[in-house]
């Protein structure tokens, strides 16, 4: 699960990590009070206004503005709150900015990078630092991988002191900043571990003109599987940052991801769902979505699946591809028949059923009187649905 920057900052503060003073507001009328409070707290004269959306690349998109005085801060708050921010991660439609963080601007001497995440190849968490702060780390990894220094963290022993020192040293830190780094890295690992994060990223981690280490921007993602252990973190979910159809699907244990094609898909199993999208593309169509109805598919899930697929106006045809193992195809067939009758379908539906009770299911569909195009194989289904979508 993703959380906002301001929420990540709250968590960093809880763990004693140095962050700039900041206040998050959702209405321009709160701007004056926020600036007054920051001035009172830390004598801030200069500010940074930062859009709070779940997407990277905010700075390039105009969602982060340095404001050298109060007047420009007020103007920037006015501009950014309510703007539609487009970044390389939001897609062309962009994201409406509903909250901004007003933060104290700091004197930056050096920009560094620090992150903790899972290293799948080693099955261990890894602490990464780089002197190339402020840049996208993927870019650093591609162009100068030697500038990323890693320490693998053994689950039984945690991040050891010598490892934290080695990381600080790799950043070229000395004196106070080095001491602060060692302490901060241990706090970051504690946060990562105790809160079941999937990533904690500080970018940039800065050294101020006074020689202090401060986490200027942070990204924290949480492990969905562990949210049941952290109800307070689960409550940080911002449904407005997610696609409404995807949120709706989640309520019925459907896993739906909207794409921009014209062929809607309903499949059981994530791997087969991806493969179904792939074959649609290979025979000349384009998938409108990923939809995994899961192992417990029944009449209700199929009906809801249909409803969600058809909420996308781009969908010109639907392919249902079910390989029954635990899922019985006859149950799926009944779901399809009910859904087609109830939902007043106006797009062609191609159905391919295989596995448990597939024969019974085919007979049910054939005798139902509903307009369904039946397919015998995976390939046959893809060809038929793409043809139907091209109408």
């Amino acid at each position: 699960m993703k959380i906002h920057e301001y929420q990540a900052m709250q968590l960093l503060k809880r763990y004693g990590v140095a962050i700039p003073a900041g206040i998050t507001i959702d209405d321009p009328s709160q701007a004056d009070a926020a600036l007054d409070q920051l001035h009172a707290e830390c004598a801030a004269e200069q500010f940074v206004i930062k859009a709070q959306v779940h997407a990277g690349g905010r700075g390039k998109g105009g969602g982060v503005k340095f404001s050298p005085d109060r007047a420009s801060a007020l103007a920037n708050i006015e501009t950014i709150l309510g703007m539609t921010l487009v970044t390389h991660q939001t897609g062309a439609e962009g994201r409406l900015v509903k909250k901004v963080m007003v933060a104290q601007a700091l004197d930056i001497k050096q920009e560094l990078y620090a992150a903790i995440t899972l290293d799948r190849t080693q099955s261990m968490d890894v602490f990464m630092v780089s002197t190339e702060g402020g840049m996208e780390i993927e870019e650093v990894a591609r162009t100068s991988p030697e500038k990323i220094v890693r320490e693998a963290i053994h689950p039984g022993f945690g991040l050891r002191l010598f490892q934290a020192r080695a990381l600080a040293q790799a950043l070229g830190l000395e004196g106070t900043a080095a001491k602060q780094a060692v302490a901060m890295f241990q706090k970051l690992y504690k946060l990562y571990q105790e809160l079941d994060c999937s990533i904690v990223e500080i970018n940039p981690l800065i050294v101020t003109g006074q020689g202090d280490l401060v986490a200027l921007d942070s990204k924290i993602n949480l492990d969905d599987n562990a949210l049941y252990l952290h109800p307070d973190l689960a409550a940080m979910r911002d449904l407005e940052e997610e696609d409404p159809a995807e949120v709706d699907a989640g309520k019925y244990d459907l896993n739906y991801i909207k794409l921009d094609g014209t062929v809607g898909c309903m499949v059981n199993g994530a791997g087969l769902a991806m493969a179904t999208m792939d074959i649609i593309k290979q025979v000349g169509g384009s998938p409108a979505n990923f939809l995994d109805v899961g192992g417990g598919a029944n009449v209700e899930t199929v009906k809801n699946g249909f409803r969600i697929i058809l909420s996308d106006p781009n969908v010109k045809a639907v392919l249902i591809n079910i390989f029954g193992g635990i899922v019985r195809c006859d149950r799926i067939a009944n779901g399809i028949i009910e859904a087609v009758k109830d939902l007043d379908l106006n797009v062609p539906v191609v159905v391919r059923l295989a596995g448990t009770n597939a024969d019974i299911a085919k007979e049910l569909l054939a005798n139902s009187g509903v307009a369904i195009i039946s397919a015998d194989s995976f390939e046959d289904a893809a060809n038929k649905v793409v043809k139907a979508a091209q109408g």
Binding site: T121, M274, G325, T356, F378
Partner: protein
Amino acid sequence: MSILVNKNSKIIVQGITGSEGGFHAAQCLEYGHNVVGGVTPGKGGQTALEGAVPVFNSCAEARRATGANVSLIFVPPPFAADAIMEAAAAGIELIVCITEGIPIAQMVEVKAFVQQTGSRFIGPNCPGILTPDEAKVGIMPGFIAQKGRVGVISKSGTLTYEAVHQLCAEGLGQSTCIGIGGDPIIGTSMKELLELFEADSETDAVVMIGEIGGSMEIEAAQFAKDHMSKPVIGFIAGQTAPPGRRMGHAGAIVSGADESAAAKKKLMAECGIHVVESPADIGRTVVKVCA
């Protein structure tokens, strides 16, 4: 021979008194007649599967009483990590965990723990293992497979069934089919299974079905290039998946350039893997390669 499980396997089911565990344990018993017991803490002394097998309080007890060497786990996510460790501590040789949704941090610990015991661990979040006509340890539908000489390794459940279905349609049976799971941390990698299939006298070729995310397929392909005499036929699901989006499986997310389907297929082909472009061509490609 086959790999991992056969007709001599003795299987216990952890979580056998739960509805899912009970249902699938009964199917496994019916398929291979080699489920010898179950484990549910606090329910030792009872029986399960309509009196067919005894229930024990712990894996250690179950192993002592039945000589079990395989454990199949259907324990709910909050307790599954512990169940895996318990099986490993009891000296169970092969542990298969079906449970989906185990916190990743717990799996990091499980992986380190199991490695020390010498047990082999498959999963979690996987459909398990099927050696046709001999043993079923998991939730794969037994009737879709037939005995033969093609090994199948896959990250996914139903896509495995699709591949097996295509193989059977071409008249090719399977030696063993393994679903390794789609989580970021899993017990046994594709490479380790290729190693077992290479050594198995009853396997002639291996179908390897991967997906976007991680680098396991690449590691396996490198191994095949350097150490395998048997052909490997590979497919990667998710060529149309947008980067940064998790496609169902927790591990199926393109977070770096090398994790896309196109990049993986290219590297696999360079290692001599017979890469299948269309998921409908898996069976046909095996026929062609083995001809």
